[in-house]
């Protein structure tokens, strides 16, 4: 079954994006081509549903991905007919142009158009975000970074932008900056379990990237344990959280690292090996349960991503000699 059109299609697999884009003709045919925005006109035409506009936006992205430019243009035209030339519609128009650009010259032209629009209003968020994405896509990472910092200067509560900044730093290997930006996201949305898990992953990668096992390593591993534990606390049976917890505790047990002498900041010291052992056992048991139910397609366990379950199975099979794997 194709995923819902209401949800953002960015993270979907190509097969799912294809299934969504194939729904475009049906959606375009079943909805009225123009919806009047005047109060009088709405009396005579079909009722207007807010979901329709979200569907159009998502369809534009899926259709562009699948190469169905005509349907994407049609969706955009309908949005433009309803909302006029507002910033969000303009950004979607820019998106279509970007997708159709053949060479760098055309991309430069689009970039100039964005710059022009920003000259009129330099706090135009949708266009600003498109410009940053385009700069990044063209490989001009430092320009994208400074534009992003500028955006966060006037809109510091934009969690999406902080997350983009974190990803941008991460792609350049700047782990401390990436962690800092992700922590800013967490300040804005403290209950987001996936952000906690993401931060744990960043801490783990930062700790293991250098290869050293000194003070910062232990501090970052302790942070990672805390982040993964918090994500599990916020979300029962969270595969990603348990996977991360298992990964971190396994590595710590393998290191057989004694907790460094209690340093000045108590908060970031590693728990004792007993606790790590128990956390590892808990994560192993939970992962085994999730993998078992999910591969049996049990009722109520079908929401997990198949690739994630496969990765968990692989991780479990690595300590098969210990006899926990089922």
């Amino acid at each position: 079954m194709a995923p819902s059109l209401i949800r953002s299609p960015v993270q979907l697999s190509p097969a799912e994006a294809l299934a969504l884009s194939q729904q475009a003709p049906v959606v375009l045919q079943s909805s009225p081509s123009t919806v009047s925005s005047s109060a009088l006109g709405s009396l005579f035409s079909a009722a207007e549903k807010p979901e329709l506009w979200i569907q159009y936006e998502n369809l534009i992205i899926s259709c562009l991905r699948a190469g169905d430019d005509r349907a994407a243009q049609e969706c955009h035209d309908r949005l433009a007919a309803r909302f006029g030339n507002n910033d969000r519609v303009k950004a979607l128009g820019g998106l279509i142009k970007e997708a159709q650009a053949q060479n760098n010259g055309e991309l430069d032209k689009i970039l100039k158009e964005y710059d022009q629009m920003l000259e009129e209003n330099n706090t135009n968020l949708p266009i600003m975000k498109r410009r940053i994405a385009l700069l990044r896509s063209m490989g001009r990472l430092s320009d994208a970074g400074s534009a992003l910092v500028q955006l966060l200067d006037f809109s510091p509560t934009d969690s999406e932008a902080w997350s983009e900044l974190s990803d941008l730093y991460f792609s350049q290997g700047l782990y401390p900056q990436a962690i800092y930006a992700m922590e800013e996201v967490l300040i804005l949305v403290p209950n987001a379990w996936n952000v906690h898990a993401r931060l744990g992953e960043l801490q783990y990668m930062a700790a293991t990237a250098s290869g050293a096992t000194g003070g910062p390593y232990q501090k970052q591993m302790a942070e990672a344990i805390k982040r993964f534990s918090r994500s599990i606390e916020l979300c029962d049976d969270y595969l990603r959280g348990y996977y991360g917890l298992k990964l971190v505790t396994k590595r710590l047990l393998k290191d057989n690292a004694k907790p460094a002498k209690q340093t000045d900041d108590e908060d970031f010291s590693l728990p004792d090996s007993n606790t790590i052992e128990r956390l590892n056992e808990l994560a192993t048991a939970k992962l085994a349960e999730i993998v078992r139910h999910s591969s049996a397609q049990d009722r109520g366990w079908r929401g997990y991503d198949a690739a994630e379950v496969a990765a968990a199975r692989e991780l479990l099979s690595e300590d098969a000699p210990s006899g926990i794997e089922r």
Partner: protein, 181 residues
């Protein structure tokens, strides 16, 4: 009947000054016997209400006679207190209770499944069951179901690199084509 009632109903002032017609008196008396608490309401309503009076009267009479016979059967005193006058026969009481129970059971069974109210349970349900966990009785996914509401923070739809996604899609299609050959 409305005309009749309108003719019969006196203005409030004349009622208080004692100039009420006979028919109104009888009507009034009957009401006093049967439902004392309606008195004030009727005093403050106008002509249209009188239409209902006629229906009310016949209905009350039937009910009253039923009550009387019931009282006779249970050999209760005819000059009972107002509380006794409003008490219902046991079969009506049972009927009412049974009807309420049936309605309640129907409502409970017909309602869509309850949703978790604890954050971690609700979040766990999204991760574990996905869309399956948020279907109503008709098997339709709830319209307000959006999956993980924080997905967009990692997906970042406004920063989407559409050219990269397009290329990846083209590669995937090629891969599919090669597999089929």
């Amino acid at each position: 009947m409305a005309d009749l009632a309108a003719r019969e109903s006196p203005p409030l002032l004349s009622w208080h000054s004692g100039g009420a017609p006979n028919l109104w008196h009888r009507h009034r008396k009957h009401l006093q016997v049967n439902s004392k608490r309606h008195k004030s309401i009727f005093l403050h309503h106008d002509v249209n209400i009188q239409v209902h009076h006629c229906f009310w009267q016949s209905f009350t009479r039937a009910r009253h006679s039923a009550l009387q016979s019931f009282r006779a059967a249970t050999s209760a005193a005819l000059t009972s207190t107002p509380a006794a006058a409003t008490s219902l026969p046991i079969d009506i009481a049972i009927e009412t209770v049974v009807a309420i129970l049936v309605i309640l059971v129907g409502l409970v069974l017909g309602a869509s499944p309850l949703r978790p109210i604890q954050w971690r349970e609700w979040a766990g349900k999204i991760e574990r069951e996905g869309e399956d966990g948020f279907k109503d009785n008709n098997g339709q996914v709830n319209r307000d179901y959006l999956g993980n509401p924080f997905e967009f923070i990692e997906g970042r739809p406004n920063f989407v690199d559409i050219r990269k996604q397009r290329n990846e899609f083209a590669e995937w299609v090629k891969g599919q084509g090669n597999q089929q050959k």
